[in-house]
Amino acid sequence: MEATKEEIKNLIKIPGKVRGQVFLTDLGYIKEKEGEEGVKLLKKKMAQWDNPIDYDKIEAVDWYPLGLRIISLLAIKEVFNWEEKQIFDLGNAAPKFSFIVKMLMKTFSSLEKVFNESPKYWQRHYTKGVLENYRIDLKKKYVILRLKDFRIHPILCPFYAGYFLGITQYAIKSKEITIKETKCSFKGDPYHEYLIKWK
């Protein structure tokens, strides 16, 4: 079901800010996947919604309304008719494009460091929500991440799943790493919880 202009306007009002990098990441991915034609379509969609996001003017380090993050994903989903899997892939690819991630790469020298630094890392991108490294068990090979105070839009669930997996993949050299959202705010849980396992 397509979002309406009304819904878009309401989304913009959501409190919280997000770093401009996220939109540049979205744009970079669409360019790679769908080419210039895809970018044109995306911009066209934005235009239909009265250009809440002007991708050409976005600055990576600037802060923008958190709701625009959802709008960007919704636009992509509608234009290209993506499902959760593709959104997941977008999230997984996002760290590759992110300037901020690249700036923070020094923290990705080990698994512990990655997840111990994760709250700071979240704060570099979002002003809302708290990302918590709940548990790391290197012997049993799993990590549990919890994202609290962040019930914004369900479209973000698969996106972050992909994203957290992507970050983990910098720190673990295993081909068999999996992530699963074990708890979801939109399913009645108090927070989003992600279980990352590897072999």
Binding site: E32, A60, K96, F97, F99, K102, M105, I172, K173
Partner: protein, 534 residues
């Protein structure tokens, strides 16, 4: 105050934001325009960042390569792992030549420089990899190496060939040395033979210059090696002792065979020349000189002995002849027939002895050069008629037909020793009658104007001369087997004497004969001036 502080904070924040943006833009621009392909790798060996030049080199875009293992970019994983190890130990700028694998699976030769990354606290947080495309350099190097290899191979081949050639040359040299030693040996042998050869050897080269001589020559002519070597015939005339030799050789070194040369009373040489040919090409003339002094002496002594003996024998034989004649003629009284018969045979034998002795004496005189010639102008037809008259009677008595043929035209007189020519004709005609049992004997004389000589022919139908003995017919004491078989009488000296007489007059004698059919003897007497007869 609070407001001002807040404003100041806002300005600072704004400034920081702008600085950050500028920094981000700067980094982005730098990354885009840096021509050197670079990537950042984390401590796990995962690529975390690349620049545009890297994308252009490898063909990989950010989405495809980030979070992939850096070692997957290289052909030799182990080599890369070694490099990574060193980089993760904190070493800066470690370079290694490697083969990069592009997205299109193309292999590119690159020089990879790895440099460790550390945070502000000095903790290792990964490493940079920079790539230098050395394809061209590698190609050039490979081409160079290939050329060097080729050239080295060529050089080795040539060296091998040279080695072989050298070996072959060494073998050839050894063979040549061996052959040379043999040649030297042979040369020494030859030289020794030449030096010790009992005959004198004189070798003239193609320009008729003396190129070698042996010691005998020096002994014969009392000359030194230097006087003769490299001298031509003209130069040799200046050496007085050589004049007699040069006289008989002539300037062109004419062909000689056993020509006698008396240098002095106690030195007589026999000279022969031999044309020396090699590969069908004349290379010179060899003159051999044999000392026949002793032989000549022996011959002289022999001749003297024969002469003396013959003279000594002739007197008593003549006495026996006249005594027997008187007895047979009855001057000393009549004798019985039986005694007459025996004495008749004795008389015949005595006559034969006298003829033999006369012949022997003639031969010795010829050999001693004392066969003197009394040359006078003669009417040859008249002379011939006188000679053959008794011979004609002898032939007819034997029952042989005797024919004579003379020239019809007027012929010139001829300078001859009439006694000697008569003897020669007599010997030849006598032989013809003697060796013909039946048939005829023909004597003819012709004058050949164009050749200015008389041609005598004595033809018979006698026993003939066997072919294998014809060569010796004019030698002393030779009698053909057919003559011996026919049990005819003869001394074997008649033709020898006839030949010498004809030769002395400047004529020639020859014959044709077939055993059992007869012989034809020809001889010529030239019409010459008296002075030219030897």
């Amino acid at each position: 105050m609070e407001k001002e502080g807040k404003k100041e904070q806002e300005i600072l924040l704004q400034t920081i934001k702008e600085d950050l943006k500028d920094l981000e833009r700067y980094i982005q621009e730098f990354s885009t325009f840096l021509p050197l392909p670079v990537c950042m790798v984390n401590p796990l060996g995962l690529i975390i960042n690349i620049n545009k030049a890297f994308q252009d080199l490898t063909g990989y875009r950010e989405l495809e390569i980030i979070r992939n293992k850096a070692e997957d970019l290289f052909l030799d994983k182990k080599k890369f792992q070694n490099l990574e190890k060193k980089a993760l130990k904190g070493k800066a700028k470690i370079a290694e030549e490697m083969t990069l694998l592009t997205k299109e699976e193309k292999e590119i030769s690159v020089k990879v420089v790895a440099s460790a990354r550390k945070d502000e606290e000095g903790n290792l947080i990964g490493y940079f990899l920079a790539f230098f495309d050395i394809t061209e350099f590698k190609e050039f190097q490979e081409t160079l190496e290939s050329r060097v290899k080729e050239r080295t191979k060529e050089a080795e081949k040539r060296a091998g060939e040279l080695g072989k050639s050298r070996k072959a040359l060494m073998n050839i040299l050894e063979d040549v040395e061996r052959a040379w030693t043999e040649v030297e040996k042979e040369k020494d042998k030859t030289l020794a033979i030449i030096e010790n050869f009992p005959e004198g050897l004189l070798f003239f080269d193609q320009e008729n210059r003396i190129s070698s001589l042996n010691p005998r020559i020096r002994d014969f002519f009392k000359v030194t090696h230097q006087q003769l070597i490299k001298k031509n015939v003209k130069d040799l005339k200046k050496v007085s002792s050589l004049i007699p030799l040069i006289k008989i050789l002539g300037e062109e070194l004419k062909k000689l065979y056993r020509k006698e040369l008396e240098l002095k009373e106690d030195l007589v040489l026999e000279v022969s020349t031999i044309e020396v040919v090699r590969n069908e090409k004349k290379i010179g003339t060899l003159v051999t000189l044999r000392d026949i002094t002793r032989e000549k002496l022996i011959e002289k002594m022999k001749t003297e002995f024969v002469s003396i003996t013959a003279h000594q024998l002739r007197t008593p034989l003549s006495a026996i002849k006249w005594t027997l004649r008187m007895i047979l003629d009855g001057d000393l009284g009549k004798i019985p027939e039986a005694q007459k018969e025996f004495l008749g045979k004795t008389y015949q034998s005595n006559e034969r002895m006298i003829r033999l002795i006369n012949d022997l004496l003639n031969v010795t005189r010829i050999e001693e050069g004392r066969f003197l010639y009394n040359i006078q102008k003669q009417d040859i037809i008249k002379l011939l008629k006188e000679v053959i008259s008794p011979l004609k009677e002898m032939a007819q008595r034997k029952g042989l037909k005797f024919e004579v043929e003379f020239p019809k035209e007027k012929v010139p007189e001829v300078n001859v020793d009439s006694e000697k020519i008569s003897l020669a004709i007599q010997n030849i005609v006598d032989n013809a009658i003697h060796y013909t049992k039946s048939g005829k004997v023909k004597v003819s004389l012709k004058f050949l104007k164009e050749k200015s000589h008389f041609l005598f022919l004595v033809q018979d139908t006698g026993i003939g001369i066997p072919k294998n003995q014809q060569e010796r017919i004019f030698t002393r004491f030779f009698r053909a087997a057919s003559a011996i078989r026919a049990e005819t009488e003869g001394t074997g000296l008649g033709l020898f004497i006839a030949k010498n007489i004809i030769k002395a007059h400047g004529g020639k004698i020859w014959f044709e004969s077939e055993e059992g059919k007869g012989s034809s003897f020809y001889f010529t007497i030239p019409v010459r001036e008296k002075e030219s007869i030897s």
